[in-house]
Amino acid sequence: MTAYSPDELLGQLAEALPVECRESTIVIGSLAAAYHFFGGDREKQVQTKDIDCLLSPNVKAIPVARTVVERLLDSKWEPRYDPRWPAPGTAETPLDDLPMVRLCPPGKPDWNIELLNAPDAGDPKLRVQSRLETRYGHFQLCSFSYLALAEIDPLPTPHGILVARPEMMALANALHHPVIGEERMAGTIEGRKIKRSNKDLGRVLALAWLAERKNPDALLDWAGSWERGLRTRFPAAWNTLAARAGLGIEALLASEADLEEAHHTAIYGLLRSFMLGPEALAATGLRLMLDAVKPLKRAADEHRRTSH
């Protein structure tokens, strides 16, 4: 996998997107994190294969996705298909059998963008699929309920596209995995098949570590941001979600084997420029629990107590 400067990669991506679609594009995942934490540092590079782009808001996501797909394919971007879904579908193809939108720039097969749509605020389902009809055929757009948090106050960039806030990506990942699931990722990370929850929860710890590196008291602010984010996007369920935001991290810290997998993904991902052992990640997890998770839970308990 080739390593890129996060700023340059974000610039290339923005340049390829139609101007009118840029402000609807929120970059999430490792590129967003790398841009936020070392965008100005040319020494620090990001090794990413998938650039996840969340199209927001939900109501505009399908038309924006259509414009993006058609414009990029017109410009000779190349679709990257999974062997299980080797071509765009037709109106007759069931939704489940449609490929996701993954497009590589011409002549650069080592990275691709992947389009996701922002979730509908009223839909309680964890994962929702939508049909995307284009001149090139039918694709599938996915949305994940907790990605609504990535839409909270995203950070602007000079390139016109937005990047999600690290603390919101961390919360979305933490909520998505309240337990360590057994599902393993289809691909490998440095030769190992890793549990998806360990990869995502490891990302939470990596984001926390980088946030603390930038500002030693950053995690103290996360609890307040998390509460505001949950109240904004999940007004009816925010305190239930707040109460279980730390369950996955707690489970990860309690299992050396899972923590080791999380560490493996982190040091070959966002933390590749740092020499960190698993104990550093565990210590960061304990700090996260103390500074962000517990205050968030306290706020939820307090709200529950006063509203009864």
């Binding site: 570590w209 030693p216 810290l253 052992g277 104990e279 960061t284 103390l290």
Partner: protein
């Protein structure tokens, strides 16, 4: 791999596959049971690891421990019971250390004990009295009664009288059996600084996150928790006593804790990434000094922060090798005292 376990236990010492814990001065088998159970939980999470509980300077005998081992063996899984061992060390003499521990590991284990045991030991009374006299002198207080010294130090009359006899040459007696230092006793101070690494109960902590928190950040967190028996020492206290003190950067946070033992939750609340270290080569982020005298002599600053007394603060500076700053601070106290005396004399 060393990972802070979520059950809140951390071995005091790791010797190969052996995780060693020390329990000092336990008088009841009930205290030991809690320790054994914690170790059993810990072992259940770690295949291939063994745990050794060392009971230090206690009246619990190895034979009594063996009976407890047998009882525990009845309720634990055989695999865990087999990996959990106990030993006693009284006055430096070990009994029941596992035969598998090599000579070098045994030596390391025994060397680690005094460091722990010291935390619960009282300071020799002459030094305790000298510290109180210095405290009063540096702050420009007047002479004090023996009774006052006794109460501040939590010392007996004979201990105070004997210490004062030792310091007869540098003290003066006044009306009402009151006593004070005649001047700043440089020789005695130098002796106190020299012996302080041995007689102070200091616990040091190092960062394990790879992102050490600054002393300022730790101080902010201290202000967020209720810790009435804790005072800030070291550089921060030095700046409290002398704001113009020439201090560039603060290498670590020094805290004085009133008591003979440390509640580990204090460190966990300040920063759960901190772990105890006795390795002099490791960078220390936090040093905690146990102040075991009856009165802590802490002082509340205008900022609402409690500060360690000047003597503790000066010893902290010496420990951090900030000798020039310590000397500057002493000069400041001397000048302030002299100014105060002059003012009092002219009114």
């Amino acid at each position: 791999m060393r990972t802070k376990p979520y059950i809140g236990y951390e071995p005091d010492l790791q010797l190969g596959e052996w995780a060693v814990s020390f329990k000092t001065g336990a008088q009841s088998i009930r205290n030991i049971r809690a320790e054994l159970l914690t170790l059993a939980y810990w072992l259940a999470e770690r295949q291939g690891t063994r745990a050794l509980l060392v009971i230090v300077d206690s009246n619990i005998t190895k034979a009594r421990l063996e009976r407890e081992d047998a009882l525990l063996g009845n309720v634990l899984k055989a695999d865990i019971a087999k990996r959990l061992k106990t030993a006693v060390v009284n006055n430096g003499r070990p009994e029941g250390l596992p035969a598998e521990l090599g000579a070098e590991d045994r030596q390391r284990l025994l060397e680690s004990i005094p460091e722990r045991a010291r935390a619960s030991r009282s300071k020799p009374s002459p030094y305790a009295v000298l510290e109180i006299l210095l405290h009063e002198w540096l702050l420009g207080h007047g002479p004090m009664t023996l009774d006052r010294i006794q109460r501040a130090g939590g010392l007996s009359y004979p201990s105070v009288a004997s210490a004062l006899a030792r310091y007869e040459g540098i003290t003066e007696r006044g009306a009402g059996r009151k006593v004070q230092l005649r001047y700043f006793p440089s020789d005695e101070w130098a002796e106190l600084v020299a012996v302080s690494p041995r007689i102070r109960s200091t616990l040091t902590f190092t960062d394990h996150s790879g992102n050490p928190r600054s002393p300022e950040s730790l101080l902010r967190r201290l202000s967020m928790i209720a810790a009435p028996n804790v005072a800030v020492g070291g550089s921060f206290a030095a700046r409290h006593y002398l704001p113009s003190l020439d201090l560039l950067g603060t290498p670590r946070l020094d805290l004085s804790v009133h008591g003979t033992s440390l509640d580990p939750s204090l460190v966990d609340l300040l920063d759960p990434a901190l772990k105890r270290t006795t390795n002099k080569r490791e960078r220390v982020s936090l040093a905690i000094h146990l102040v075991s005298r009856a009165e802590p002599l802490f002082e509340e600053g205008p900022d609402g922060i409690r500060y360690a007394d000047p003597v503790e603060c000066l010893l902290d500076l010496h420990e951090a090798r900030l000798e020039a700053q310590a000397a500057e601070l002493i000069d400041h106290f001397k000048r302030a005292r002299s100014d105060r005396m002059g003012t009092e004399g002219s009114t």
